[in-house]
Structure formats: C-alpha cells, structure tokens
Subunit: 376 residues, 2 copies
C-alpha cells in the first residue's frame, strides 16, 4: 500500500493517504504518547479522538501547554466554509467536537468562522444567497454540539467584514501572489477575490488578541488538508505582532465507500449527513459501507473479516464507540468470524441513529439560538 499515490490539498483529497508520509511532507509533529500524557494531566481523561490518534499531529502544541501552565490561556479557532449542495456530515463534526471538548476541559473561548464568501469566490455557480442560506443551516449543527454560548463567538465574514477586513489587509500586505501560487496552485486566471481570501481566513487566529490588546495563543484543530492556509498564517502573524497559531491535525473520516480520500457530502453514497433520517442511515450503511467481510456467511465464519479496512469498524473506532474494551471485543469478534458484517453494521447503525436523534433535537432548538452565538 505504501507505494500508492495520494494527494492532500485544501481543495482535494485523493487516494489512500499515508499519514506518516504526510507528517514528513508537511513538516508537522506527531502527537506522541508523552504529549498525550501531558494533556491528560490537565483534562483527567482523553477524548477518543486523542486516545485513538484521530487527531494525530500538531504544530506547537507543547508551546500551547507551556503558556497555559504559565496562566496564559489559549483560545480555539475553527470554521466552516458553507456552500450550495454540501451539507454537514460526520467528518465535518470531528474538529468541532474536538473544540467543544477542549473548551470544556480548558475553559477556552472558541472563535468560529463562517466564511460565506469563500465558496462564492471559488465556485462560479455558487451565489452569495446560496452560501448565506447554507451558513444558517451549518450554524445549527455547530450550536447543536453544545458549545458554551458565553465562550463561543461566531464570525460570518460578510456580516463581520467591518471588524475583519481592517485586520485582513494587515495580513494581505505580507503575502505576495507568488506565495499564493505555490501554496494553492493558483495561476493568473484565478479571480482576485479568491487570491485575497486566505487573508480573511487568517483573521480569527489573532482577532481576539486585537480585541483584548494582548497576545493570546491560538489553537486550531483541523483536518490536515486545511494546514496550507495556516502555514501562511504562521508565517505572517509574527510579522504583524501576533503569535503563530498552533495546530492540531486530524486524519480524514473515510467515505462510506472505502478508506481512501475523505468523506464528502456532495455524493450521497459517501457520507452520513447530520440531517439523515434513521432509515437513510440504515440504507446508506447497508448499501455503501465498505465491508472487510467475506463473500458468504460460511466463508466469513471460517476466515473471519478484516476490521482494519472495514468502514463500519473504522467509524466505531474513530467516532462512535468510546469504550475501549467494547471496541476491542468487536475487533476480535469480527476478525475471528464470530461477528458477521450485518451484525457489525447493525451496531454502527444503532450508534449513529442514537447520536443523530439527539443531534437533530438540539439542531431544532438551535434555530432560536443563532443570535446568541454571533460575535457582537
């Protein structure tokens, strides 16, 4: 498998990602056990995302903890670039759930960016009305995750441009088009809005420092494909008087259809959406979830399944089964052939539907809470 090619950019994830290689290529650090123990000293336990290395790499996380231990609390920055026809799926939730857990454990503020101009600028067919509608829907998902409204501030780029643009130009002055070309693969046919955009994306990483008139450390949990944007921020922010943001990188939740690439909501067969009904979840998992099982029950009982390539097992491991003992038993039972693919899928379906049932109730309640979360 090592020899297979893969590609990870902010715009595309292709092939089966070799995360070991990616760590070297991107020049990030592995989230090792020593660092996990250091986190645990402050949090008592470790979220399964950390325990199981769903978040597997970082930049400057030790520094974030140094500062925290000196009494200089960090804030968290995450976001969502809403667009037409792309609803929130389980993969999107991972950095947000990570933020929520870190908020709870470290009492950290969360700054949530909704760059409603990004997809408008990048995609010909997407209008600002499309991204505004989608932003509203996506905010419901964020709020439903249970963030503390007193410590969570949403920035919607077109709504908060009065605050953000005067900061974005400070960043923009330090970024040449050469940098944009080499970082994002742009050329002269790209529009000047998309060229400027990365400056807007950098703003929440230092805006709290501007507002409080002191340098505050920033930690950004993200899918590793988004690292490029923040490599630029890390380069520029010290030049304008702020800290480099620290980063915590996650792997991609695999698409239903297999372990390559990342979950995408533009293809129904690949993603579980937060708005899916129990029947849709059942149908999608049964129909599409790539199985590590054998072709017949007899063969499966005899040879056993392969949980390491089985998408249902991966979802349990990466997201839905927090109990390490139970997960281990499922692993062994599936590998030995004691547990059939249909049984494994049923466990996952049940878990997802319990989660989505709760999420959708909270999502409904969130409709009345949007304003609470907007920065004022």
């Amino acid at each position: 498998m090592r020899g297979k090619s893969f590609e990870v950019t902010p715009y595309e994830v292709k092939g089966e990602v070799d995360y070991g290689k990616l760590i070297k290529k991107f020049g990030v650090s592995k989230l090792n056990d020593k660092l996990l123990r250091r986190i645990e000293r402050h949090t008592d336990d470790l979220h399964l995302f950390l325990r199981r290395k769903v978040f597997f790499a970082h930049r400057d996380l030790n520094w974030i903890l140094d500062e925290y231990e000196k009494g200089n609390k960090f804030f968290l920055y995450t976001g969502r670039a809403s667009t037409k026809g792309s609803k929130v799926h389980l993969g999107h939730l991972m950095p947000w759930i990570m933020c929520k857990w870190l908020q709870d454990k470290f009492g950290a503020e969360v700054w949530f960016q909704f760059p409603d101009e990004e997809k408008f600028l990048y995609k010909n067919e997407v209008t600002l009305e499309d991204t505004k509608k989608a932003t509203y829907e996506d905010m419901l998902d964020v709020i439903a995750l249970g963030f503390d409204s007193k410590k969570t501030h949403s920035l919607v780029d077109t709504k908060h441009a009065g605050l953000m643009f005067p900061q974005a130009i400070k960043v923009a002055k330090k970024i040449t088009f050469s940098t944009i070309k080499s970082s994002f693969g742009f050329n002269d046919t790209n529009n000047i809005g998309s060229i400027f955009y990365t400056a807007m994306q950098a703003v929440p990483a230092f805006l709290p420092s501007v507002l409080k008139k002191k340098k505050i450390p920033c930690l950004i949990p993200l899918g590793i494909d988004q690292d490029t944007h923040f490599r630029i921020s890390r380069d520029v922010l010290p030049k304008i008087g702020y800290y480099k943001p620290a980063i915590l990188h996650s792997v991609f939740l695999p698409p239903l259809t297999g372990v390559g690439g990342k979950m995408s909501s533009s293809d129904d067969s690949k993603a579980i959406l937060t708005t899916d009904s129990p029947a849709e979840v059942r149908k999608k998992i049964n129909k599409y979830a790539f199985s590590g099982g054998q072709h017949s029950v007899e063969e499966h009982r005899k040879k056993g399944g392969n949980p390491d390539v089985d998408v249902s097992f991966q979802y349990l491991k990466m997201f839905f089964e927090p109990d390490d003992e139970k997960l281990k038993k499922i692993y062994n039972d599936y590998k030995s052939g004691k547990m059939l693919t249909s049984e494994l899928k049923n466990i996952l379906i049940e878990k997802i539907n319990v989660f989505l049932n709760q999420h959708q109730k909270k999502r409904k309640l969130a409709e009345k809470r949007i304003d609470e979360f907007l920065y004022k």
Copy 2:
C-alpha cells in the same frame, strides 16, 4: 513637441502629456462643444473647468444626460487615497470642485471614497495609522469646498468595510489576476491586498444602486491617470447587474516647475498645498513657477512672453481667473511684453492667497463637521 515621449498610469505621470494622443490611446471621447452646449442647457452657465476644457474628455456623458432628461438622476463619485507625506494640493481639488459644481447644478448626490487601505497596501513604509491621520486632514479639505452635507456621503474603507467588502467580493469574482497584471503592470511579487484593492475602489460606483435597490447612473470626474481603475469597473459592473459608470476626465494641473507631468505634493518645489501660508505661496510662485518670460526686462518688453508655457498663466487659466475677458487681457499683455513676469506672478499670488484664506477658514470650521459627512 509631438514626438516627445510621455507616460500616464495610475501610479505615474511622466513627460509632457499629449492629451490628443491620450484620447486615442485610452479610447475616450473628446468633450466637444456640442456636448458642452447640452450641459449648459441644464446649468445656465459653464464652469471654467468645462469652458476651458480642463475637463476635456469623457465616457458616456451623453448617456448620463439622456438618463437625467428622462428623470433618472445620476450621482457623483470621487475620492482621495490619503497617504503619509502627501498633503492636498491645488491639483487634487480640481475633480472635487467639479463635483461640487455638478452637485449644485444637477442636485446630485456625491459619494466620496477615502480608501485608507490603498497606500498602506501599496507602500511598504506607510502604516494604517499614517493613512488614518492623513484621511482626517484630507476630509477637512473636502468639506471646506462647500459640499451639501445632506447630499454628500463619505466612505472610509476601513470604517465602512462592513458595507463595502460584501459588495467588493462581487466585483472581485469577475476580475482575474491577468487583468490586474495587464492593467496595472503588476507581477507575482505584488501583495494580495494591493491585488484585491481595485475591487474596493469599484464599490462606490454602484453602492447607491445597492442601497436604493434600483440602477442609478454614476458619473466620476477624475484626472485621466485614474481612468484604468474605472475601465475595469466599467467592464465588470454590467456583469453584476449595474450600469457602467460614466467618466469625466481632466488634464493635470502642471507642477510649478513646468508643463510636464502633474502636480505632486511630495516635492515642495512642485505644488501649492491647501495649507500653505501667504508667504509660502509667494515664495513658491516667485521661486519655482516656470516662466514664459524673457531673461531681462528690456528683452521682455521687446520680445514679449509666452503665456502658453508660463505656469502662472496656466494656473490663472485653469483655476483662478474665471473672467474670460480679464484672462484674455492678461494673455495679450503678457505676450506683447506689456506685462512683466513679476506682475503676472503677483496677480496669481494674490488670487491663490484670497482662495486659500477662505479655504483655510472653512477648513478650520470643518474640524467639527467630519461626522456630518460620514455615511451612516
């Protein structure tokens, strides 16, 4: 003289400009007598800037009058990119005085842009604090010209970014970096803020249409060197549902030192600033104003002077002597040798000082009126 080379870009004016050639090169239309008569039907008289072809070319001015005659009033758009070490000089006032006159005669709204990010983005050494301070000073000059505060709206880019940025991205989406390269001579080393900037500059040309939810014609009086920015606006605005702005182009007020280039306030010897004292004006005119006179009084009496290259005469013609008969007499007297250079300079010094005395009083009063002119 025809053979001499000259260059006119938004960033530099070099050499003795051949305005006839420029009309062809830029593809603009000459402001001919027929069109002047058409304006006069609405205004009863013609400002000396029009009568004497200081504003000498246009784009779509006939269309502006067509719409006006149908009852669809135009608005005016002008601006000033404030920067460190560049104070307002007489040349800057020309498009603004033109706007004030058009406001009075046509009852037009004036939208005045102060893009306080522009020079910050274009010049390494300029800070946002510099441009903000300079913007304040420059607003005093604008207000001092007597605009109607009920019909005049100032936009300061960093203050009004909340309003402007969501419109600028609509423009930006339609402009590629190729266009910026060929229009402004940019390359890959330019920063992404300066690349984006022309989108911000386009906004006031359609913002009133956005706010009033109907298409309103826009007329932009400007020095012809600024035409490039608005060629792009004219190309893009119809693509996003608004009218092309019409343009009224002026020649450049020559620098004190001669008829080539344009007045510049970064060199003391070249410009009369609005804040100059009577003694400074006297000194600058006497010392620097390029003279069309002869080397001795005797020679001047015999051969006469050349008013066509004499800067003092040009300032009287382009700005300070509205009376055509008086101007003609000065021309003839200087040409015949009856009027000496010192006498001609004294006439100009007196005129400038009367103007600046009034202007500086109104400029002082303007300190309390800034808020009245900010768009709210």
